[in-house]
């Protein structure tokens, strides 16, 4: 999946003032790329990822997925694209607390109406692959931070998406777990040829990335 942002701007209102979170951003991510968007907290990287991930509407500009302008898609079509073609990993994991690890991973497949048996088999396989085969029936509160993030990554992979969008995936993790998580994302990129876009301010992660963009006050610049 090739993702392109063209003159992307996002302005939102905070109280009485207008905040330009993303300011005329142009970005192109080719299929199979491993991309980092680096910036300090509040620099606009999460907003940019939400725009690219079709979770938010730009104030102006367009997002293209495989040359299709997705900014003009209906909410239903955008949700369908998120469900089938994109996987999301959040800083705070955003696992559903009432579901077990395996059920959390099954959820996107259930939403995509995959057969029940297939859901379970694939969810188990994904969790075993990332080393959580023994934690299938544990609920999020019974897992460590690193385990929760790995479950979140497994969930992101559930519908075999073409792109993984990870917003500060190591933000809540200690350095060792953070390294393992980044290594996992890197493996997914290399082995499965999935596009991975990571927002981070962690310099250690940046070193592992193929392409690095920096963002400051909403303005994006290609770093390497």
């Amino acid at each position: 999946m090739r993702v392109k942002a063209e003159n992307l701007t996002k302005v939102y209102r905070l109280g009485s003032s207008l905040i330009t979170a993303v300011d005329d951003v142009n970005l192109e991510v080719n299929e199979g790329a491993l991309v980092a968007v680096v910036g300090r907290s509040g620099s606009g990287k999460s907003t940019l990822l939400n725009l690219i991930g079709l979770n938010d509407n730009p104030t102006s500009g367009n997002v293209f997925v495989d040359d299709v302008n997705v900014s003009s898609l209906s909410g239903r079509e955008r949700r369908r694209m998120r469900l089938h073609r994109m996987g999301f990993v959040f800083q705070t994991f955003n696992l559903l607390p009432t579901l077990s690890a395996v059920e959390n991973v099954e959820l996107p497949m259930a939403l995509a109406n995959a057969p029940r048996k297939e859901q379970r088999e694939k969810a188990v396989r994904l969790l075993e692959t990332i080393g959580l085969g023994g934690r299938l029936s544990h609920r999020p509160k019974e897992l460590s931070m690193g385990e929760m993030q790995r479950v979140a990554i497994a969930r992101a992979l559930a519908n075999d998406p073409e792109v993984i969008i990870a917003d500060e995936p190591t933000g809540e993790l200690d350095s060792k777990t953070a390294e393992e998580t980044v290594s996992l994302l890197s493996d997914i990129n290399r082995k499965d040829r999935k596009t991975v876009i990571v927002a981070t301010h962690d310099e250690k992660i940046v070193k592992l990335m193929d392409i690095v963009y920096t963002i400051q006050d909403g303005k994006l610049r290609l770093e390497s």
């Binding site: 939102y12 907290s41 999460s46 907003t47 939400n50 991930g53 979770n55 938010d56 909410g75 239903r76 949700r79 369908r80 694209m81 998120r82 469900l83 089938h84 994109m86 999301f88 959040f90 705070t92 955003n94 559903l96 607390p97 959820l107 996107p108 939403l111 995509a112 969930r155």
Partner: protein, 354 residues
């Protein structure tokens, strides 16, 4: 509900009869609940000489009801004095419970038959001696009936009732059976013209008289039900809005991973429906139990005695209706929170949190 049921039943009991009462009495349906006496022989003599009167039956109806008692929770007992040869006029084919005992045998026998609810309340059985206004009477039978009025009545011979309640030579109610071919309305008009001190109430007039009261009670019922409905709706809605608000990250996550809006909507409605189902079942069980306990406390009838007739006191159809109403209110109360849940967006939720 209790009073409307009693009132509606009253006319069934005297179907086809004209009820003659004193002008100054207050009448609900067929029964003079307050004031008004008729000189028995004098009135009956005049009535029997009116063309179209086939039969007259004098009665005494004793009601402790004043208007202030209408809101009383404690069941009220009525006493009726009826000539022994006319039991069937009011009781129709009503049998005695377990076919045990008999109706009072003659006008001067100190015998009564009682409604089952009264019998349960005071733990009376056939053969029990009771004292009414200083006179010992024997319970010779217990009616086997479900009618509310008959349930709460003590029936005794007219003469005994007249003696006990100071109605010697007088009565407060005379039923008139029209002869075949005579209309109730014309006969009632004739009675009133010949005896100016009485009201002769036809079945239609009695129904008309009671309509405003029934309408008022119905209005109150509808009002109370509406208030309860709205309060429940607001309560369910508030609780669900809070619950959705607390889980906005979860709903936003569902949206982020591509859950269809209908899925999110269904999740919330399913939750509120489940609350309705569980709340309905528990509410009906708990509410029924509380109602029975209160009834037991007010009437002194042992709680255990209510259980055999539980489904008659609270019919399954009512329970089902209440259950459906609760589930409906919960589903309805879930709609706005469900719409809110579908509007949760991860970008906005995360932006608000950081």
């Amino acid at each position: 509900m209790r009073y409307t049921t009693v009132i509606k039943e009253m006319n069934v009991l005297f179907s086809g009869q004209i009820m003659v009462v004193s002008n100054d009495s207050i009448v609900i349906q067929a029964f003079p609940i307050y004031g008004g006496r008729l000189a028995q022989n004098h009135t009956e003599n005049i009535l029997q000489n009116i063309a179209g009167v086939e039969e007259t039956v004098p009665m005494v109806f004793i009601s402790p009801l004043g208007f202030e008692d209408l809101l009383n929770l404690v069941p009220v007992n009525f006493t009726m004095g009826i000539p022994v040869e006319h039991w069937r006029l009011i009781l129709g084919p009503t049998p005695l419970k377990n076919n045990a005992g008999h109706f009072p045998s003659n006008e001067t026998s100190n015998e009564v038959v009682v409604g089952p609810s009264v019998a349960d309340q005071y733990n009376w059985t056939v053969g029990t001696k009771i004292v009414v206004r200083g006179r010992e009477l024997e319970v010779t039978g217990i009616l086997d009936t479900k009618l509310a009025l008959l349930n709460r009545c003590v029936f005794m011979p007219l003469t005994i009732a007249q003696e006990l309640f100071n109605y010697r030579g007088s009565t407060n109610l005379i039923t008139v059976k029209p002869a075949q071919g005579y209309s109730q309305k014309n006969l009632a008009d004739t009675i009133e013209s010949q005896i100016p001190s009485v009201k002769a109430l036809t079945e239609d007039e009695r129904n008309d008289m009671i309509q405003p009261i029934l309408a008022q009670v119905e209005t109150w019922n509808i009002g109370i039900q509406t208030v309860i409905f709205l309060m429940s709706l607001i309560l369910v809605m508030t609780v669900t809005i809070m619950s959705v608000s607390e889980r906005r990250r979860d709903f936003a996550t569902l949206d982020a991973i591509g859950a269809p809006l209908t899925y999110v909507f269904r999740v919330v409605i399913f939750e509120t429906s489940l609350i309705g189902v569980l709340g309905g079942i528990l509410g009906i069980l708990f509410g029924s139990l509380v109602a029975l306990v209160l009834a037991s406390l007010y009437t002194n009838i042992p709680l255990a005695m209510f259980f055999p007739t539980f489904y008659e006191i609270i019919p399954p159809f009512y329970m089902f209706e209440i259950f459906l109403a609760v589930v409906f209110v919960c589903c309805l109360g879930g709609i706005i929170p469900a719409i809110n849940a579908t509007r949760m967006r991860i970008a906005e939720v995360l932006r608000a949190e950081y």
